[in-house]
Amino acid sequence: MNDHLNPLTRRRFLTWSGVAAAGALATVGATQVDWDNLMSAASDDPLDPDAGVLVVLTLYGGNDGLNTVVPASDNAYQDARPDLAYKPGEVLDLGENLGLNPGMKGMKGLWDDGKLAVVRGVGYPKPDHSHFRSMGIWQTGSPDTPIPTGWLGRWLDVTDGNPLHALAIDPVLPPLFAGEKTAAASLPAGGLVLPKGDLGEGFAALGAASDGEEHWQAAAARSITDLHNAAKTLGGAVHGPDGEDKDQDEERDKGASAGGNSGLAAQLDVVARLIEAGVPTRAYSVSLGGFDTHADERGTQERLLTELDTALTPFAKRLAATDRGKQAVVLVYSEFGRRVKGNASDGTDHGTAGPVFVLGDRVHGGFFGDQPSLTDLDEDDLKSTTDFRDVYASMLTDVLGADPGQILDGHTQKVDGLVNT
């Protein structure tokens, strides 16, 4: 229960300690679910094959949108960042004087097939340059006030509060999945194999509720029960490689100070298998980190976008090959774009609006939203042309079949035509 920390105390804590995004999750984590009922329902009643599935891919660190969807033929672009700019001949032409980063050849193929939408200039009012505040805004969906719940956590709350309906492929739960009543489940890319025999029985028994137990201890117990139920439902679908001991750093070092995951392909592989198996999960979260490119950006970002591309393209193609996979829509975003002008460490500092990618069989490919001007700037930063909640509202309505107003504090405006219904 959350009653030991009332909203006022919570707010006061958030302002007093100065931590919003990290604090958000600290206040939730309870699932109030009768698991036995849910599990029998899940096995009797797998996900409706026509139900939309949303895969949210977070790029941590602030991906440089201008070097992702590149206005290469715009002189203002070339002038603002001469050391970083791609030449028109280097980018993969999308039309309208924009081209994809040369690392994104597979996604260019999806674009040509009409399966990739690029929503341009996505941001929120009064942009914040803090990674944590800005990521907090994107993940909570609340640009004005810090709140302790994520937008998909609230979606969980208003559906049936089954934590299995949202799943993070990550050992640590992202704030976007924290609800007031429910936190999403998480699954390691390595899979879930529970102990057997009396140890297994004892372990399962640790998950039983204990009357009057303290909030966090109750949450710890619930997580053990959630684990057992997750293993029952998902276990068969997941038996990935058991985390081979590979060098975690390789070439991804430069933009690392703002967090995120590596091994995107492995995360997406798990997601694809779960979708194909018909587990009841409707929202997934995966991530890729390293985009905080304050220095030596070009090589670093191009490598990361290549990693994104080589993970995402086969994922999209695999999904398109099955009926369940065809219902899946992938949303790719980052907490902000970067400053228009290069910073002369051959990098860029924190900026504002950036492109959001939406892809999948049901996606209407092409451009949405207007490209922000490179000359009409707000204190050297791009002015956003599309509110990020419009994109969320589209996902909630057209993919998850939910009422966005209830989840986004009354925001119902969508990006029209983004997803075919």
């Binding site: 999750l25 879930l192 710890a220 100070s257």
Partner: protein
């Protein structure tokens, strides 16, 4: 106060003190008064008994290719391997040190500051720089926040981590300026975007000596055009900027708030308690006095006060309780523990971002429960479980060994399922909600 506060008893308060200012109580620790325990924890000399840090010579650098030559892939691979090995050595050493020291307060505070000034080896690839920062955090971590903050802004690993190397006159890089104010010393919302830009200029000139790895100030890289920070104009440098920030009225509540949040409770103290703690922090920004003041607050003994142990705190506490030194384990087991920490989402020297590690529910995920059990089994396998084997009631024996106040009926029933097998009882006990959460 919305609820009537119930205080825990003296013994539980002592146990809580060991949980929060150390890595958990060991047998015998609980047989003293709260005042004695607090004195012991706050005055113990840091680590005379601690294992010495590893020798970390600069790893071999691949020869720079000549013009038109391709870099030697084999050489590069070898260098990367050496670098990764040094990083793991460093992690192993610190875990071992956390377990080995008699009084762990200095290590716990070093750990706290590591999460606060979060710097990662993912980008700072020279292990010796990470070690140097770690030693600075330990040396200054229980003294005054003033020298600590001054040391961190010119700490070599920090400079590399937040691109200080690239911050020079005419080419300001905002990374260090912003994060220092937002996350280290002031808190978000207490400075403007203009301040960030100006601070970045004030910090220009600091860089790393390529050969020694030391931080150095290069006057010709400094932007000596006056900067206006918080409305005051001057030619600031790293030191005068830090003094300016620490002097802001929001700084002390921010720093003290972070300490309370991580060491006592996610629920902030009430205004009176906050003011008493701030008075202890005082103009000297006295960390030890702050710890004493926090422990002396009635809220410290509030029955409802609870913290989810972070994975490292949980593992180190378990190894201390079971007398398992990481350095005594063979490499395979050490690798297993390292992988376990990775699976739990927390490896020392590798925070996920400059914002440090998450807290609370973030550690109580479905995935974590299973990894925790596997790690506990690996530790227990190498523990001397004599006290448990000899006790008549092994479920009770495990409770005493892990210094848990009381088992719930639920946990007692769960532990009884393994028929008194000491290893299984201990491994399960380590995963019990009563041990995973510090009350």
């Amino acid at each position: 106060m919305i609820w009537a506060m119930v205080e825990v008893n003296e013994r539980s308060a002592v146990r809580r003190l060991y949980d929060r200012f150390g890595f958990g109580a060991r047998p015998g620790d609980l047989d003293q008064s709260f005042a004695q325990a607090l004195d012991k924890l706050l005055t113990a000399p840091p680590g005379g008994d601690a294992p010495a840090p590893p020798n970390l010579p600069p790893p071999p650098r691949p020869e720079r290719p000549g013009k038109g030559e391709k870099p030697d892939k084999e050489e590069k691979k070898k260098a990367n391997k050496a670098r990764a090995a040094q990083q793991k050595q460093l992690v192993g050493w610190w875990l071992d040190r956390m377990v080995a020291v008699d009084v762990a307060t200095a290590e716990r505070l070093t750990w706290f500051w590591h999460g606060h000034f979060a710097t990662s080896a993912q980008k700072v690839k020279i292990a010796a720089l990470m070690l140097r920062q770690n030693e600075t955090l330990r040396r200054l971590g229980m003294g005054s926040f003033t020298p600590l903050a001054h040391a961190m802004i010119v700490d070599p690993a920090m400079i590399v981590w937040l691109d200080g190397n690239d911050n020079k006159v005419g080419a300001a890089n905002e990374n260090l300026a912003r994060e220092f104010m937002e996350l280290f010393a002031l808190g978000v919302g207490h400075y403007s975007e203009d301040d960030v830009r100006e601070v970045a200029r004030a910090l220009t000139g600091w860089t790393i000596d390529k050969h020694t790895g030391a931080a150095k100030y290069v006057a010709k890289r400094h932007d000596d055009k006056p900067q206006t920070i918080f409305g005051k104009s001057d030619d600031y440098n790293a030191d005068s900027f830090v003094d300016l920030v620490l002097g802001r009225e929001e700084s002390a509540p921010f720093v003290v708030g972070r300490m309370w949040n991580r060491l006592v409770s996610p629920t902030p103290p009430d205004d009176q308690a906050r003011d008493r703690i701030l008075e202890a922090y005082g103009p000297n920004r006295d960390i030890r006095a702050t710890l004493r003041a926090m422990a002396s607050e009635p809220a410290f003994r509030d029955e409802k006060t609870a913290l989810v142990k972070q994975p490292v705190e949980w593992l180190v506490g378990l190894m201390r309780a079971l007398g398992v030194r990481p350095s005594a384990l063979d490499e395979k087991v050490q690798a297993k523990l390292y992988k376990g920490l990775m699976g739990l989402g927390q490896v020392p020297f590798r925070p996920p971002s400059v914002g440090g590690w998450p807290s609370g529910a973030s550690w109580l995920t479905t995935a974590a429960g299973l990894t925790r059990l596997k790690v506990a089994q690996a530790v227990v396998e190498h523990a001397k479980l004599d006290p448990l084997t000899q006790s008549k009631d092994r479920v009770e024996g495990a409770r005493e060994l892990l210094a848990v106040d009381v088992w719930s009926d639920r946990t007692r029933a769960a532990l009884q399922k393994v028929g008194g097998d000491p290893a299984k009882v201990a491994a399960l006990a380590a995963c019990a909600p009563e041990y995973v959460v510090s009350r």
